[in-house]
Symmetry: C2
Subunit: 624 residues, 2 copies
């Protein structure tokens, strides 16, 4: 049953693993939030992104490198990567729903890249145009291999998606061969200060069979923690270069780097069977989940260095939770899910997808968050820049990264193994895996019933495994210890199976070690984390508190202005007297919240926030 | 009685003001913590600092500028300022207690500076050596006028202290005249991205009578918020260039910059009488104190940008509270105290001095904090660099800044006005103000009794005013509404007066709007904020909580190993069960702290922390 894996049209196609993926085109998503995100991603975001490739200097920079343009280099040294992620988004979008404009854009871009590429295969417009004497001489911050990695992923996508990718793949292979010559067989030692190329090299190996790509990825991972690159000025933890990967116990430094590195580590494990790699990655995962993960699935507690912090350092207001980190975390968890089959990784994918990730994009798909905090204060003076979604960024790593994930969402829905089919994420539509076709009807995540109808199936027994999220405490049928409910039988066309997840709203409390959340609670329902926004309150949100143990009431809204369809949750709150401090805000009087006026407070799904007034928001709210 | 002000040997000598300062040499401090700090500052810190002038490249850079050296420029573009602050420290130290090595160092440095100075008066080793074509062309981050300001302050100090300063003053005046030619009469508009020169120019005007220096300071202040300089990449708030100073309501951006700017604003008010300047500065002071000030008096909630944050954003763990910001805050408050006579400014000076500032230096005077947080976690992985005091820093702005303040502490103890003498800070020793000599006997801040003995006095009536800190709720004699207790009479030699401050330990609670401190309390006694350090506990500090309303017991220690003399405070605590999360640290169970084992917890003055095991520390501790 796992024989499709060889021709899967998706971002990750490992040759081993407990579970094996389906292609982007094997899963049709036909509605629900995921379907909506795919629609606005195609209609609004990708359209905007393609325009920005010209406006932000990405394509002009490459023309300079190709000797076809004039003017100064624009933007950052990693500007090329914006194009690569945009190309990958376009390729998966074409795989999902073909449109001739997509292969045309890929082919045109590939032509430009081929003309910009040096004869030896090197390709990076910044270094070719601005710093030709510094090529591979500033690995600590050059992002040259980081950009190469995104090129490889774009080429893999275009090839698998049959999206005008022949020339792009040739460009990628020439650069990959050059990296092999320099850093594998050529004897140069080093790493890129920003991990990413490792996972990309493994995928390029999977596509092409060229084993030196895998060997280079393995070497780059083994090279970490040896001090082979200079300090970028941010310290060795920033680039996870403080310890060899097998010795590091906890996620540190720049969150996106750590998370992409982990994806590469699991990728190398999947192809080489080196258990020590899986073991160290799982060890860090368990530590990170228990001590360094926001309730939204976001990662990175610090603006300074866009970094993880110390254990239990999880501030709601200054949580960085970069959109790219959510994407990288989904990549890593997906590899761990395929490698081990454990439902906990799919659980974290779901939490991240519906919260930290989904919040990154406005309801209309035209504005993006780079940083995804869990609280926005009243004043928004210092945070005027990052406090609201923006159309684009000088450092535009996030928007095209978001687009490539949304276009490829179908890839993350279900897997196969020798026993049958496992469904990890629930969305209405259709799943095809070899002889099996499964229709999915659901109003998830607004409703907890997911109805599966077998449309075609082999005549033999196979197992349908359905993930039961850890939050669903009363599920029918219940889950086994692996987090899945499983039915093994011969399935006939027309057979149905219903899963009922527990959609009761939940009041959630933080572990006592999280100092920044003491005395607060949050609201969840299904996979959605909620927040309180000023727009929905009857009084100033900063003066509202939750009544401990409050009843939580579900309010369905078909079209909340600015937000669209949603489910609100009402709770019992107290309106506290507002008494700004006169002098220092410290006194001998205890801060037990005084009794206030009873008032209803209303929560909205976190991923739908900042589509209205730009006012105060908080996920974690004080308990009266 | 105010006629001394004209010959005062101190850093700040305004020509107007409700209160007028005394010189560094008018107050002898003979013991107590302040006396101890002055002793180790002289014996250890200044000795270390003078060595570092050579080692860290400061003097070699100036030799390069003078055409006398070889090798590369070392360090930052503001490296010269380290020397200027060191010179100022040496000058005040000489004023306090003469030593021929000090004027010799000043004269030698002045000679080098004179040789490095361009004929037109310009002086900055970085720009002269590294970027001669960019002089005054990168004001947003050049620090050229910032360095000039520290030169002016050093020259003022050396002149007033009679510490070999004739040539230094000539160098300073040539540079100041050049700044006047370029930025006042020459028509160039601009500001320095890092405020500092404003307050320094006013002081150079006060010393020399050259009114163009004052006019330039006023112009630079009026130039803020007009967008005259480029964005340094940190946004206009970082440099307080987002709004004209009279329009800005709240302290923003880089804390040290904001606080030095405020000092300059009050300085210009003091010399010009422009009430709109005092008014806007007081408005921001009130807002800052109520919403952006740590209990230690520290300022700057963010590592990112070393910045103030939003209102009520006061995290204990990630508080930046730069040592230089504590110094700048003391400068600003001192000016406000002189300008208005309000005791609240002296209160904040005391809080800052004994806590945020004093914590910056190790018990032996050889190691310094750049960042002064209110919590240190168990792991100290990400924070290995900034988590403990260090001998020096690549950016060494803090250590010589600390030294110049400690050497000049006597200046901040007392003031005079037409009515008599006001004492703002209490330390054993002697205060001389014209015909008045007052001996001070006290074991403050360990004990609350301060005994004043008049040693000489005029035959006429005058008022002795003594500050009663706001924390002293039961004081004998009690304070008036201005925060001072005052006695007006004819004083005879031998007359004594005793002030008894309330030294009961206090459990202090944060305002409910400070989310990061919810459910916690802190301990204070007298002017000292306390913290819990792992070294003093019977169990892991992360598992300890305070019993609400706990009795606080004072324990005197003559020589706590590593710390020296101190007063510890014991409280009733609970040892909570340690239960690290398995999976995400969020659950349906409330986080009310469970009942634990009763245990005594022990607090040490915050300013004495990090002199022992480098373990966990917290000022704000959870209430059980």
């Amino acid at each position: 049953m796992a024989d499709f894996a060889d021709r899967v049209r998706g971002p990750l196609v490992p040759s081993t693993g407990v579970q094996r993926p389906l292609g982007v085109n094997d899963v049709e998503i036909e509605g629900g939030p995921l379907g909506r995100w795919q629609r606005i991603n195609r209609e609004a975001s990708i359209t905007l992104g393609l325009e920005r490739m010209e406006q932000s200097g990405v394509l002009p920079n490459l023309r300079l490198a190709a000797g076809e343009g004039t003017g100064p280099f624009q933007g950052y040294r990693f500007q090329d990567s914006d194009l690569y992620k945009q190309l990958e988004a376009v390729a998966w979008e074409h795989c999902r729903l073909p449109d001739e404009r997509y292969p045309a854009f890929v082919a045109e871009s590939a032509g430009l890249l081929a003309r910009a590429q040096r004869p030896d295969g090197y390709l990076n417009s910044h270094y070719q145009v601005v710093k030709p004497d510094k090529i591979f001489a500033e690995l600590e911050y050059s992002h040259e291999m980081y950009c190469a990695g995104h090129l490889f992923q774009a080429a893999v996508a275009a090839a698998r998606a049959d999206c005008g990718g022949q020339e792009l793949l040739a460009v990628a292979r020439r650069f990959a061969d050059h990296l092999v010559e320099v850093f594998l067989t050529g004897g140069d030692d080093g790493i890129d200060g920003h991990a990413e190329v490792e996972t990309a090299l493994v995928e390029l190996y999977r596509l092409t069979g060229e084993r030196s790509y895998l060997e280079l990825a393995a070497k780059l991972i083994d090279n970490r923690g040896k001090g082979l690159i200079a300090d970028s000025g941010m310290g060795p933890l920033y680039a996870q270069d403080h310890l060899p990967v097998r010795e590091a116990d906890t996620a540190v430094g720049h969150a996106v780097r750590q998370l992409y590195l982990e994806a590469g580590i699991v990728d190398v494990y999947l192809e080489t069977g080196d258990e020590s790699l899986l073991e160290c990655s799982v060890r860090r995962w368990e530590d990170m989940v228990a001590t360094k993960t926001s309730i939204t699935g976001g990662h990175g507690s610090r603006h300074d260095g866009e970094a993880f912090g110390e254990r239990y350092e999880l501030p709601p207001d200054r949580a960085y939770n970069e959109s790219c980190a959510a994407i990288a975390s989904i990549h890593w968890n997906w590899r761990l899910l395929l490698a081990t089959g454990h439902g906990r990784y799919a659980d974290l994918i779901e939490r991240t997808l519906y919260n930290a990730f989904a919040a990154s994009t406005s309801a209309d798909g035209t504005r993006f968050f780079y940083v995804n905090p869990l609280q926005r204060r009243a004043d928004l003076i210092e945070d005027a820049y990052l406090g609201r979604r923006r159309e684009w960024f000088a450092c535009a790593c996030c928007p095209p990264n978001i687009m490539r994930l949304v276009s490829s969402l179908g890839h993350y829905v279900a897997t196969v193994d020798d026993e049958g089919l496992s469904v990890h994420q629930y969305a209405p539509g259709r799943i095809r895996a070899g002889e099996i076709t499964l229709a999915v009807e659901t109003d998830y995540p607004w409703d907890g019933r997911v109805l599966f109808t077998v449309e075609s199936a082999p005549d033999t027994e196979w197992t349908l495994r359905l993930r039961v999220p850890a939050w669903s405490t009363r599920t029918a049928p219940p889950a086994g210890p692996d987090g899945y409910t499983a039915v093994r039988r011969v399935w006939r066309p027309g057979d149905t199976f219903a899963l009922d997840l527990d959609m009761s709203p939940r009041l959630v409390h933080p572990h006592r070690r999280i100092d920044a959340l003491r005395g607060c609670a949050a609201v969840e329902r299904g996979p959605l984390v909620y927040c309180f926004e000023q727009a929905d309150q009857q009084a100033a949100l900063e003066d509202l508190a939750l009544v401990p143990g409050t009843e939580l009431r579900v309010v369905e809204r078909d079209d909340l202005p600015g937000v669209g369809r949603t489910v609100l949750i009402e709770a019992d709150g107290l309106l506290l007297p507002s008494s700004p401090p006169d002098g220092l805000p410290y006194s001998g009087a205890p801060t037990d919240l005084p009794t206030g006026t009873g008032v209803t407070v209303t929560a909205v799904p976190y991923h739908q926030w900042d589509n209205r007034d730009g006012g105060v928001m908080r996920v974690w709210t004080p308990l009266a």
